[in-house]
Amino acid sequence: MNEGIDISVEFGGLRLGNPVFTASGTSGYADELGEFMDMDRLGGFITKSITAKPRKGNATPRIVETDAGMLNAIGLANIGVERFVEEKLPILGKMKAAVFVNVAGETIEEYLTVVERLANEERIAGFELNISCPNVEKGGITFGTDPELVKEISSAVKNACGAKMLMVKLTPSVTDISVIARAAVEAGADALSLINTFTAMVIDIKTQRPVLANRTGGLSGPAIKPIAVYLVNKVYKEVAKERGIPILGMGGIRTASDAVEFIIAGASAVAVGTASFIEPGCAARIIEGIRKYCVEHNISNIKELVGSVSQ
């Protein structure tokens, strides 16, 4: 009934029909959720992490449920960039949503291989850089926890991605996320997405072993939402706002109210992650809910809401 209400947003130079994305790793390569919702209704779509070579992923168990959340340690299982181009890009090319390819790797070279392969593909709008991966050349330190490494990888990718948009996805497992955000923006990031999952652990008290084969995994779901809202607001205030850098906010969103909360905190757009596992058509319901919110609160442009939380 609110179909005609305009909730389009501008996101780093892109005009999106609405501010809702599906998050990386929770919506497949392309149209996997298509049986549950009309994918063309999405504002944006982010692929699962793509690496230079195919990856088998971790042994099982790869997930475990926690209170109001879940841990995952999939191990970046994916078909690799070549098969991605061949099998998935044609499907993505038909989608109306702005398509971002999430890129991961263990060396800067690996990231660049993926980005260079895709930089001239008309069918994608940009890249989301997954910097929550261990850097094997630097003794396994996570790229995203060291501002120098973030600068190095962001500027290398920015140079390789041509006219495509570069969005850097921040890990919350750091002392000060604004330091990392600033490093990414100074190196040329056009947008920031936050937050990725929190490194976490569940132990089976009967066997005294971690439940996940990988020992640790990333915590996602409603449990992390208030922290995500806080971090989005922090990065918005301390880094993004003055530089005009849009934030894609995420972390535990499962309702339109959650989405609006992130926007008020400072996100220009939001992504639905874990909730898609439980309700695969969740993103479409959230889009409708945002429209309804705008009608009820007399908001004619979503932009008015971004970062509107009182000081």
């Binding site: 699962k48 099982t60 790869r62 475990v64 926690t66 879940m70 596992f277 058509g281």
Partner: protein, 329 residues
């Protein structure tokens, strides 16, 4: 197709496959939720409209993802001590279940689900009552198939592995009636109390007979095996099955084994099948978040034909039923 690994093979003997309808999220209405024995329940769900159509085509071995996050806890005095801590947990993810029976009744499709109370989700499920509405995602995955030329089917299962086997028994006995496939069921459990069947399971003989009501109603004979000997054969169900095979020596080409249950049992069944060159389909279980091929959590290590390498297939989309030769146990 469940046996991509055996592709050439399957092209020759392609038989009947079940489960062709497209998946979706549907509402079902609970029509009953009946306790069986100490810790088993049989939940009956009714689908109408598009759900009735979708689940009419639900094949044996396929599964659904049930949302139980909204279900209430039973009263404190009905929570077993060993689940007191688990009862405090909140449910986020859906839970996968297969159906034991699916029946079209006019414009409705009625499906039965067997569950055992083992954790926070199944504990909550005990409070489902007639009239409650439940969100169901399905039908999911690839179920069992019945290759052509098969004359004997052995159902070998342990514990809750009986659930899809009862559905398969019905399909073999009724839908495949004209093929006249002889079916024998082998049911295993730790002890008599862990046998999820109705009736007096402590009075079962060690002989093949119509001892399990749930299979007898399809004129299928069964044997029961318990680890502690409290019912039927004393020992693992795989030993019981092996003894029967040795005595009866069925024709290998005409036989097929269907199995569901604990992974160690499935591995043993796969070994028995391989040694005798009998076709075997196993239904696997994995922790899964989505059930629709997105989260990639339910990985199953599978062999690659003509290579020593292995790949991970997804239990939800490539399975949950696999050709036993393909799976690395």
């Amino acid at each position: 197709m469940v046996c991509g690994f055996m592709k050439g093979f399957c092209e020759v003997v392609m038989g009947q496959e079940y489960g062709s309808s497209s998946k979706g999220e549907f509402r079902a209405v609970v029509s009953s939720n009946r306790q069986i024995g100490i810790s088993f329940y049989r939940l009956t769900l009714e689908f109408s409209g598009a759900g009735a159509e979708a689940f009419d085509g639900f094949g044996p071995g396929q599964f659904v993802q049930l949302d139980v996050s909204g279900a209430a806890l039973p009263p404190v005095e009905r929570i077993p001590d060993e689940l007191a801590d688990a009862a405090r947990r909140e449910i986020l993810l859906r839970r996968p279940f297969s159906f034991t029976d699916v029946t079209r009744e006019g414009d409705k499709t009625v499906a039965d689900l067997l569950y055992c109370v083992v954790g926070p989700a199944t504990l909550r499920m005990t409070t489902f009552k007639a009239g409650d509405s439940v969100s169901v995602v399905g039908p999911l995955g690839n179920g069992f198939s019945v290759p052509e030329g098969k004359k004997k089917a052995f159902l070998v299962f342990g514990g809750m592995g009986t659930a899809p086997m009862q559905h398969l028994a019905k399909v073999l006995a009724w839908d495949e009636k004209e093929r006249d496939i002889e079916v024998v069921a082998f049911a295993g459990a730790k002890s008599v109390h862990a046998l999820p069947f109705e009736g007096r399971m402590d009075e079962i003989s060690q002989q093949l007979g119509f001892s399990i009501r749930e299979f007898a109603k399809y004129t299928i004979e069964s044997m029961v095996a318990t680890d502690d000997g409290s019912s039927g054969f004393h020992g693992p169900v795989t030993d019981c099955f092996l003894e029967w095979l040795k005595e009866n020596k069925p024709s290998v080409e005409e036989a097929i084994i269907y199995s569901c249950g604990p992974e160690a049992m499935l591995g043993k069944v796969a070994e028995i099948a391989k040694e005798r060159n009998i076709d075997c389909q196993v239904s696997l279980e994995r922790r899964m978040a989505c059930g629709i091929g997105v989260c990639q959590s339910c990985a199953v290590e599978c062999r690659v034909e003509g290579s020593s390498e292995t790949v991970y297939k997804m239990c939800c989309e490539d399975g949950p039923v696999f050709d036993a030769r393909e799976v690395v146990f």
